[in-house]
Amino acid sequence: MSSTDSISGSTLATPVRTRVPGFVRVHGRSRPSRVLLAFGALTAAVAVIPLVYLVVRVIGAGPDRVIEVLWRARTLETILTSAAFVFVVTTACLIIGITAAWLITRTNIPLRGMWLVLLALPLAMPSYVAAYAWLAQFPWMSGFAAAALIMILVSFPYVALPTAAAFRLADPGVDEVARSLGRGPFRAFTSATFPQIWPAAAAGGLLVALYTLSEFGVVALMRVDTFTRVIYASYRGSFDRVSAAVLALVLVALAALLVWAERRVRGRQQRWRVAASVQRDHVPMQLRRGTRITAISGLIALIVLALGVPIVSLIDLMLRSTDLRFDPAELFTATVSSAGVSLLGAIIAVALALPVGILAARYRTRSVRGIETVSYAGHALPGVVVGLSLVFLTLGVLPFAYQTLFTLALAYAVLFLPKSIGATRSATAAVPPVLEDTARTLGRGPVRAWWSTTARLTAPGVLAGGLLVLLTSMKELPATLMLRPTGLDTLATELWSRTEIAAYGPAAPYALALIALAAVPAWLLSRAMGPDARGRRGTPDTVGA
C-alpha cells in the first residue's frame, strides 16, 4: 500500500447518508438543551409570522369570499400565465445549462476554464438590472417573451454550474463500463452518464423555477401579469386585500411545492454518490470542426446576450447622457440607507439563525428538524408575499410599526434567514464537539465553553452568512417598495422609480452599484455550486440569489 493512488479511496468508501457532514453528536448528550430549543422555536415562530398572518387573514375572510377570488377568470389567468412563464424559463435554462455544462466539461472546445468563469458571471447581474439595461436600449421590449428571455439569461447558471460540477464528478469508469457492456457512445451517455448528472440539473432547474415564480422586477418592468405583479398591483391599486392575500397564499403553496421538490431531488443526488472514486480526468470528446465552431458560436452568443448587452448598455448610458442629472450625494445617501436598514436586517437574521444553525448542525431529533424546516420558510416566501403580509400585520395589529425601519429589517431577516442558518449550520458542523466537551472538563459552564471554543471557530462562517444577508437585502426590491418608511430610498428603489418613468440614463449609476453588490454573493454561490465544489458543502440556499 505504498503508492499514492491507493490512498484516496479507502477512507471515503462509505456512502454519504446525511445531508450535511461533520460532527453530529451521536453519543452522549444527544438531546439539545431546553434553552437552545426555546430560542430555536422563537426563530421558527418569527420566520412563519408572515405566512401565519396571511392564513389568518384569508380564513377571516370566509370561505365564500376565498372561493369567489379563486374562481375569478383573472385568478385562473394569473395561474396559467405564471405556470407558462415558469415552464418556459425553466425548460430553456435546463436545455441551455446542460448543453453548456457538457460542452465545457466533456468536449475539446478550447479555453474550458475561461468559459466556466464566463458562465458563472451572469449570477452577478440582478435580474431587474438586466431587464432595465435591455429596456434602456430597446424600449419596445415588453411582454411574455421579453421577460422570459431576460429570466433565462440571468438564471441559466443555476443549471449550468451544478451540472458542470456533476459532469466532472461523474465517475468516468461508469461510462467506460457501459461501453464495454455493449453500448455505443450515445447510448452509454444516456444510460450511464445522464442519470448521474440529472439530479444536479433538476435541482438547479427547480431553483430556477422558484426564482422565476418569485420574480418581481422583471415581470413588472416587462408588464407580464404573473402572481407577483398581480399581487403588487392589487395591493397598490385597490383596497381588495382579500384577493391579494388569497393570491399570495396560492403563490406560497406553489413555491413551497418547488422547494420541496428541489430538496427531494438534491437529497437523492447526494445519496447516489456511491463511493468517492479515484478522480481521473475524462477523456474529452473530440468534436468535429463544424460542430466545434457551432458550439463555440453558441456559447459566445449566450455570453453576449447575458453579459455583453447589459454591460455595454450601461456603459453606453453613462457615456451618452450628458445630462445625467446624476447626483453623487443621492447615490451615497441611497447606498447608506440601503446599507443601514440591511445591516439591521442582517443582525436580526444572525441572531435568529444562531440557535437554529447550532441545533441543526449538532442534533438530529424530530423537534430540531421541525424547527429547522419551519425557519427555512423564507426560502418559499417571495418578497412580495412577505411585504404584503407585513403591511397587513402592521396596519391591522401594530399600526405604530407600519413602514418603519424595523419592520423592513424584519422582512429582510425573514426572507434571507435561510442563508444565515445555512452558514451557521455548516460552520458549526465543521467544528468537532469534542472541543466544547474538553472545555467543559476544564471547568467552564456550557455557555462559556461554547463561547471560548465553537463560537471562536465558527465566527468567520457566521459573519460571512450575515454579510450575505446584508448584501442580498441591499438588492431586495418588492418588499422594500411596500415596507420602506416614507422618504427612505435604497439603491433598488431608486433604480426602480427612475426606470418606471423611463429615465434610463440617470438610473445607470444605481444599476452599476447594484451589480457591484451582487458580485460578492454571486462569487460565493459559484464557488459553492461550481465544479470545484467537491468536498465543500455549500448548497444554493445557504447563499442563494
Partner: protein, 365 residues
C-alpha cells in the same frame, strides 16, 4: 476459450508516450497480473485492451480476432470485454439487478442470468439492494458479477481491491480467483501490490516505465528477478556488497562465502554496483553455543555470528534484524513461534544460493 496476445504495443496521450513497446501473451483461461508502481503505465495498458485508448502502434488480439492493429480498431462495446474498475463504478441510479443486467438483453433469460452470477459471486438475495447500501467488498462483487454476466471473452480488473481493508481484501482475492477459474475467463489484473500479484496470478508481468521488464510464473519472478529493481520491488531483499570473487563460482561478502546461482550484469549503472542478493527467508538462525543442532556453523569463520538488533513480530512470522561482525544489518525471516530476543547472539546460516547483480557503465557494452 480465448488467449490474449499483445505485440509491439505503443500508446499514450497527446505528447506523452506511456507504453513504449509491450509484448504479452496470456494463455486462454489464465489470470495474468500486470504489476507496477503507479505511473508505470499499467492502467494505460488495461485501457488500451478495453478499447478506451487507441494505441499508436502494435496489435492486440483476443483469440484469432484482432481487436486493434494497423487499420483495425474495435470500439469498446464490440470487444466483449468485462471490466472491473478500481472502485467498482457501479451505476448509482440502478439497483444491483439493474447493474448486472445492464449488459444483457432484456428478457426472462437475463433475469435468470443475473441470479446465476449473483450466486457465483456469493451475493444471492441482494438483487434489489441499491449500490449505496452495499459495503465496499459487496460493491466489488457486484462489479465483478456485472462484468461476467454477458460471458465476456476477457475480463480486465483495474486494482479492484485497493479500496478495501486488509482482511476483506484477502478473502475477496481468493473468491475472485475461484470465480474466474470457474467461468474459465482469461483475466488480466492490474495491481501495484506484489503480494496480490504473486498470490493470485498464473503469470506475473512486471511493468516499469511503460515496458514489461519481466514476465513469468510468480515463483520465477520472485526467485529469479532479472534486475535489482525487480528484486527489490517484488519482495524484501538483503543486499551485501561483493568483497572478493572466489575461483569456484563463489563470492566473499560480509557474511562469509556464498555460492552464486546467477550473475546478472546491468548496463544502466555507473559501474560501481556489485552486490549479492538474498531473500530474508533464505537465512536460518541458531543460538550460538548450541552448535549441534544440525545447522552448519563454519568453525573457520566468525563472520556469520551476529547479535539481534530488533524484532518485528507479525504473528505468523517475524523479521529479525541481526547485526553481523562487519557492522551491517541483515533481515532474517523466522517463524513466529519463538523469535530470538533482542541482544541474543545468533549464528546465521544460508539456504540455497544468492543472485549477484553487477552494473557496468553503458559505454562498456
Amino acid at each position: 476459450m480465448t488467449d490474449v496476445d499483445v505485440r509491439g504495443l505503443r500508446a499514450g496521450y497527446p505528447g506523452v508516450e506511456v507504453l513504449t513497446g509491450i509484448d504479452l501473451h496470456v494463455p486462454a483461461g489464465a489470470l495474468a497480473a500486470v504489476l507496477g508502481e503507479s505511473g508505470s503505465g499499467k492502467t494505460t495498458l488495461l485501457r488500451v485492451l478495453a478499447g478506451f485508448i487507441r494505441p499508436t502502434s502494435g496489435t492486440v488480439s483476443f483469440g484469432d480476432r484482432e481487436v486493434c492493429g494497423p487499420g483495425v480498431f474495435v470500439p469498446p462495446e464490440k470487444r466483449q470485454v468485462g471490466i472491473v474498475p478500481q472502485e467498482g463504478a457501479l451505476f448509482p441510479h440502478l439497483d444491483v439487478r439493474g447493474n448486472i443486467a445492464f449488459g444483457l438483453p432484456r428478457g426472462a433469460q437475463s433475469r435468470q442470468r443475473v441470479d446465476e452470477v449473483l450466486e457465483l459471486v456469493g451475493l444471492t438475495g441482494l438483487a434489489d439492494s441499491r449500490p449505496q447500501e452495499l459495503s465496499g467488498g459487496q460493491q466489488q462483487r457486484v462489479a465483478l458479477a456485472r462484468a461476467l454476466a454477458p460471458q465476456p471473452q476477457v475480463v480486465l480488473l483495474d486494482e479492484p481491491f485497493t479500496a478495501l481493508d486488509a482482511g476483506l481484501r484477502a478473502r475477496l482475492r481468493s473468491d475472485v480467483r475461484d470465480v474466474l477459474s470457474q467461468v474459465g475467463a482469461t483475466a488480466i489484473l492490474v495491481t501495484h501490490d506484489q503480494e496480490e500479484a504473486l498470490s493470485m496470478a498464473d503469470i506475473v508481468a512486471v511493468m516499469r516505465d511503460g515496458r514489461l521488464v519481466q514476465t513469468g510464473a510468480p515463483h520465477e519472478i520472485y526467485g529469479s528477478p532479472v534486475d535489482l529493481s525487480v528484486a527489490r520491488f517484488i519482495g524484501d531483499v538483503v543486499e551485501m556488497p561483493v568483497l572478493e570473487e572466489l575461483s569456484d563460482g563463489r563470492v566473499r561478502c560480509g557474511l562469509g562465502d556464498l555460492s552464486i546461482s546467477q550473475t546478472i550484469t546491468e548496463t544502466d549503472g555507473d559501474g560501481s554496483k556489485d552486490v549479492v542478493v538474498l531473500r530474508p527467508e533464505q537465512f536460518t538462525l541458531s543460538t550460538v553455543g548450541a552448535t549441534s543442532n544440525g545447522v552448519a556453523v563454519s568453525p573457520a569463520s566468525t563472520a556469520n555470528i551476529g547479535r539481534v538488533q530488533a524484532t518485528r513480530y507479525h504473528g505468523h512470522d517475524a523479521m529479525v534484524t541481526v547485526r553481523i561482525s562487519d557492522g551491517s544489518d541483515i533481515d532474517v525471516r523466522v517463524t513466529g513461534v519463538a523469535p530470538p530476543p533482542v541482544g541474543e547472539q545468533v549464528a546465521i546460516a544460508v539456504t540455497g544460493s544468492a543472485r549477484r547483480f553487477r552494473s557496468t557503465p553503458p559505454h562498456h557494452v
